[in-house]
């Protein structure tokens, strides 16, 4: 993988998108996307945690013995998640409550561990920080698109503001579990088809 900042941005947002190419961290993708505000908070938290975990891991990578690096990484991640959790509780109690256990579950989001292992472990701090941010953004974009459709069709609202006329009957299925799977599946289908076309065009 090339490590110029703009190439990283492109990779993490599209060619190597954590969600639809690597299929990482989709638990929360599915769980929090029935409401745009929740999704926004969740993804911003994830960008924060990924970026700072990458930075920290990269800074202290020479100090960690290889054998225990997984547990050290997990502790670093948990440390930043606790910060996020405390901040959310203090400033956005309503959203913190409706996200429930999913904020804590950022710890086991494989994107973070994956990036720390695959990138921060072998690269200098600043570029690792950038890699964390862009990976988080790649996650954010996909989640926001899915949340947009789920909230619009499921409740007829966007960011809790009604946008569709009252004559519109909400599709209750959109706020329930199965629709998340269908939407993500279709999203992956579209993205993959476009990617295959691009590859075909290059040859």
């Amino acid at each position: 993988m090339s490590s110029s900042p703009s190439q990283l941005l492109k990779d993490n947002l599209w060619y190597n998108n954590p969600i639809f190419v690597q299929i990482l961290g989709i638990c929360s993708t599915l769980a929090v996307t029935n409401n745009l505000s929740n999704t926004m908070v969740m993804t911003v938290s994830l960008v924060f945690v990924t970026a700072f975990t990458n930075l920290t891991v990269s800074l202290i990578k020479n100090l960690i013995p290889r054998k225990v690096r997984m547990i050290v990484q997990t502790l670093i991640i948990a440390f930043f998640v606790i910060i996020v959790d405390i901040l959310l509780r203090a400033y956005l109690p309503a959203i913190s409550k409706s996200l429930g256990p999913y904020v804590g579950l950022i710890i086991t989001n494989c994107i973070i561990m994956g990036r720390a292992e695959a990138f921060a472990q072998a690269n200098p701090p600043l570029i690792s920080f950038w890699d964390g941010i862009t990976s988080g953004l790649g996650y954010m974009v996909v989640l926001l698109v899915i949340a947009f459709f789920r909230e619009l069709l499921g409740f007829g609202t966007l960011f809790n503001i009604p946008v569709l006329p009252s004559s519109f009957t909400p599709w209750t299925i959109m706020v329930m579990a199965p629709s998340a799977f269908f939407l993500l599946g279709s999203f992956i289908w579209i993205a993959k088809t476009i990617m295959l076309k691009q590859e075909g065009g290059k040859k």
């Binding site: 769980a31 710890i107 561990m113 329930m176 279709s186 992956i188 289908w189 295959l196």
Partner: protein
Amino acid sequence: MSPDINPLVLLFASIFTSNILLANFLGMCSFISISKDIKSANGLGMAVTVVLTITAAINWAVLRFILLPLDLLYLRYIVFIIVIAATVQMLEMVIDRLSPALYMNLGIFLPLITVNCAILGVALFIEIRSYSFVQSVVYGLGSGLGWWLAIMALAAIQKKLEKAPVPTGLKGPGITLITIGFMAMAFMGFSGMLSVQ
């Protein structure tokens, strides 16, 4: 302050109506990557069930006897994840000693369980819903069994899908996710019976 739910009802609910995977979306990563082969799916399902039951009990005790009395609730993420990692490690050693054959079978799956979010998820649900000890263990066991059931069903479906004419772009994760969507709908059929909160 534990909610008044009959353990048997909770067991049934956590397997079917509130399936940890299909209703709460937990443990998806390994669910999608391991479900291509029935034998591995079975091994992983078994391992997840055992670890979930044990960690549900330990994490309940840690929460009730250490974190709450000392007012250290904010440390719960770190403590839970350490308990889970330690349990997995310990289980690995015990299984290796008692049954090398089973150890060989589970081998690669055991360490993977540490990062399975279903395990941490169950611990956090237990905390949020303030379950009693019996309820916690039953909830852990039921969630494990539900996860096991779901991954076996998906592995069986995937076997058939291999031969199906799926469009190239949809092959792999795309069709898998849509299949899981249908499974989730099927499981939702149970939800009129009872629910846990």
